[in-house]
Structures are given as C-alpha cells and as structure tokens.
C-alpha cells in the first residue's frame, strides 16, 4: 500500500514536466510508425502487462503483480506428456536471433535469441549477460516433471513468473512453436546437453 502511494507520488511529480500521457503516446506511435512485413500496427498497442511495467518502471506493486502473473499463467498451454525435446535442435534455436521481425519471412523458422542474454553451453563464448547464466542448469536443478514444466512455462510466457521480466513471452507472442520450446527444455535439462557437461 505504502509502495503504491510512493509510485503514484512519483508519477504526480514527473507529470509536472509535461510528460506525455499514455493516450498521447499511443497517438504519436500510430502516427509515427508504419506496418512492415509481419510487424503490424497492433503490436504497438500496450497490453496490461506492458502498461503496468511501463508505468511503474518495472516495479509493479506486489499485489497487482501477483494478480497479473496469475492471468499470464492461464495463457500457457502446457502439452501433456514429456516436455523434453531434442537438445541438438534446442541449441540451434538458442543460437538464432531471428523471428518476429519485419525483416523475417513470416513462417520461416524462428529462434529464441537465448544466447543474446544467457550463458548456456560452455562452448559458446559469445553470450549475453542480461539474463542469468544457465550453465549446468539441469545438473543443479534436476530434470523432473516439475522442473520441465517450470522451464517450459518460463519460455512460453516469462511474465507469468516475473511480471516485468525483460524476457519475451516466446510462446505467447507466437515466436516459438510447442516443439521448439520442448527442444529448448531439453537443451537446459537433458543430461546429455552441453549445458550440463
């Protein structure tokens, strides 16, 4: 509650400097952008998660975050059966930075851009650090059903676990397919995967 007030007070303070309102921004975006390829104008409209994270600078009030995370959890379609695919495909998906851009052919195989932000296989030296290192992830966490489900869900919709995470909702956004996410689960959890060597 107290935190809520602080957040609101911060808004009131910045508003004095003629910061554009949410509606102003949407009007500006609609005027200043144009659709190209698969990137349609609808992508600029903020959903609830994006709006709350923008307005709170990624520090949402706990109660609100919990509620919205629960809503996001409902978007995840968990497949039945094993969630472990082929780590070799997973490695390729993790390497690829393509997918969902106006320059990508619609329907062409997308990647997860995983190495852009995470360390995975120790063989890949060129990895980002925006997200945590996932080196030996399966070795430390095991690969039981719960862990598989957690990893699948996190890749499908990261916002269900941490509302203002910087990680894209790769399944929810339609970038990765069910099989591709399973392959990434295997990359992280399969004992034979280079991640766990």
């Amino acid at each position: 509650m107290k935190r809520n007030l602080i957040v609101l007070a911060a808004f009131a303070a910045t508003a004095a400097y003629a910061e554009p309102t949410a509606r102003d921004v949407q009007q500006v975006l609609q005027r200043d952008f144009h659709p190209r390829g698969q990137a349609t104008m609808e992508r600029l409209a903020q959903d609830g998660v994006q709006r709350v994270c923008t307005e709170t600078r990624d520090q949402p009030p706990a109660a609100l975050a919990k509620q919205l995370e629960a809503d996001q959890m409902k978007t995840i379609a968990f497949p039945s059966g094993s969630l472990m695919g082929d780590w070799k495909n997973g490695e390729k998906i993790a390497q690829s930075g393509r997918g969902s851009m106006w320059s990508d052919k619609p329907g062409a195989a997308a990647g997860g851009s995983c190495y852009n932000c995470h360390q995975l296989s120790p063989k890949e030296l060129s990895h980002g650090t925006i997200g945590p290192s996932l080196l030996r992830f399966g070795k430390t966490r095991g690969n039981g059903a719960d862990t598989q489900k957690y990893v699948y869900g996190k890749i499908y919709n990261a916002k269900a676990y941490n509302l203002c995470s910087q990680m894209p909702r790769l399944g929810h956004a339609g970038t990765l397919t069910e099989q591709q996410i399973k392959d990434l689960v295997a990359l992280l959890l399969d004992p034979a995967s280079p991640v766990n060597q």
Binding site: Y17, A18, E19, P20, V25, V28, L29, R31, D32, F33, H34, P35, R36, A39, T40, M41, R43, L44, Q46, V49, Q50, C53, T54, R57, S100, M101, W102, S103, Y115, N116, C117, P122, L125, S126, H127, G128, T129, I130, K159, Q166, P168, R169, A173, G174, T175
Partner: protein
C-alpha cells in the same frame, strides 16, 4: 599438434578467468578495429556529395542551414537536434538534410527518401553526408537544443519512449540499455539514460560498422533497434525518432564530439 595444445590452453584460460580477461579482449578488439578504420573515406565521399549540384534546381547543399547559418558546418552537428523556426519543429541532422534536399535542390521527398539506408556495396547519400557533416564537429562539445518549448517537449517524449514497453517482445529501449555492465552476446550495452554511458556513445555516432562494412546513422540506429524490438517500422525523421535522438543527445551533452566512430 602444437596448434591443438595451444588452442586447448586458450580455451581453458578463457573458461577459467571469464569476465575480466574476456572483457579486456573485447576492448582490445574494439580498440584495434577503431585504429584501423576506413571511416574517413566516408567523410571524403560525403564532402563531394555536399558540394555536388543535384535535383531540379541543380543546386548543391552548400547553402543548407544546419542551425548555425547557411553553409556553416563547423560545430553544426554538435548542436543538433534543435528547433528550427522555418519549419516550427525540432530536427536532427538527417531530418534537416532531407529538408535541404527538398527546399534547396527542389527534390521531392519521395525521391530523396527512396534509399535512406544503404549497404556495403552502395552506401546511401544520407550516410555519406552524415559522415561528412558530423566530422566537421570534431572537438566541439555536444550542445543540442534544450531551451525552446518544443525542444523540451522532444526531450520528454524521447524519455517516455525510452522506457515505453511495446511490440511483440515487450521491449523498451531500457530492456537492453537499462542496467550497467550487461551485454548482448559480446556487445556491451551502455545505460543510455545515464550521462556517464550516453556521453562516450553519442560522441562517436554516426559510425562505420565493421560487421557489415556499412556506415550507420542515428536514424538507422533507432530504426534497427525497433526492428529488433519487434515493432512496426518508425517513419524516417518522425517526431518519435527525433525525440529519442534528442533525449540521448541531451543526456550526453557536454561531451566533446570525436566521431564518426567505428563500431563492431
């Protein structure tokens, strides 16, 4: 055999002493690349284009007013973006150059914007011109317009956009440029909302990019960030792009310009 042993030793050394050792190697690469950069060639070609008579009026851009008076190039880039009374709006370098192409040379906007971003085989007119004009500000401190109400408005809009999460992947500019010491792959990510990080960066844009041998401009930088943010495409010279460039340059103000630079 010797090669194999040596290679293995290097891999081990890199794995054993990760962060610091690797970081210094990235820095060494960047430094050596910058020292051996062909970026000045773009400035030379840009100068030719600046003086070349073009368009229905067969005029050069030599009388283009970039804010310091017609034809004044010295320090002009470092004072951009700024408010221009003749168009009653804030313009960055490229938006202003386009304005001069249509007004002085009599070219249509359509023709002048046909090929804004070039490639290695054929850099664009805007890229060459940006290289030349920016180079004429070397040694001048960045001092973009920040006093006129429209300049203040641009700054505020740019700041809002910087933190605005949108697109298919929920990114804002701050998703990648919001936390110190982070990397995408091998590329360090400056926290552009902080003067400390914005200053050295804005002082070296536009730049030659070695990965694809192209010269890249600020309008391109904003465009390509949005491409990777999975949004639709921003219009060239739009209020949004100019506002973001204004926000970044104002954040970097006071830094002596030393570009055009060289990037990965």
């Amino acid at each position: 055999m010797r090669a194999l042993v040596y290679g293995a030793a290097t891999a081990l050394a890199l794995a054993a002493a990760p962060a610091a050792a690797q970081q210094s190697q990235f820095e060494k690469y960047q430094k050596m690349v910058a020292e051996g950069s062909p970026v000045e060639l773009f400035e030379l070609s840009g100068e030719e284009l600046w003086k070349k008579k073009q368009g229905p009026r067969q005029a050069s851009l030599e009388k283009c007013d970039l804010g310091k008076g017609p034809g004044v190039l010295k320090g002009a880039y470092a004072a951009l973006p700024r408010y221009f009374k003749d168009v009653d709006r804030v313009m960055d370098l490229e938006t202003r150059l386009l304005h001069c192409m249509t007004t002085l040379q009599g070219r249509t906007r359509e023709e002048a914007t046909k090929r804004l971003f070039g490639d290695a085989n054929q850099p664009s007119e805007m890229e060459y011109l940006s290289a030349y004009v920016a180079g004429q500000s070397r040694g001048t401190k960045l001092a973009p317009g920040a006093a006129h109400p429209k300049e203040k408005e641009a700054y505020e809009l740019g700041k809002t956009m910087f933190f605005y999460r949108t697109g298919a992947w929920d990114f804002s500019c701050a998703s990648c440029h919001g936390e110190a010491g982070k990397r995408i792959r091998m590329s360090e990510l400056p926290v552009l909302s902080e003067p400390k990080a914005a200053r050295p960066l804005m002082a070296t844009w536009p730049a030659y990019r070695v990965s694809n041998s192209t010269f890249v401009t600020m309008q391109w930088r904003i465009n390509d960030c949005y491409r990777q943010m999975r949004t639709p495409e921003p219009n060239f010279g739009s209020e949004t792009t100019v506002a973001l460039i204004t926000y970044l340059t104002v954040t970097a103000k006071g830094e002596a310009y030393r570009g055009p630079g060289t990037k990965r």
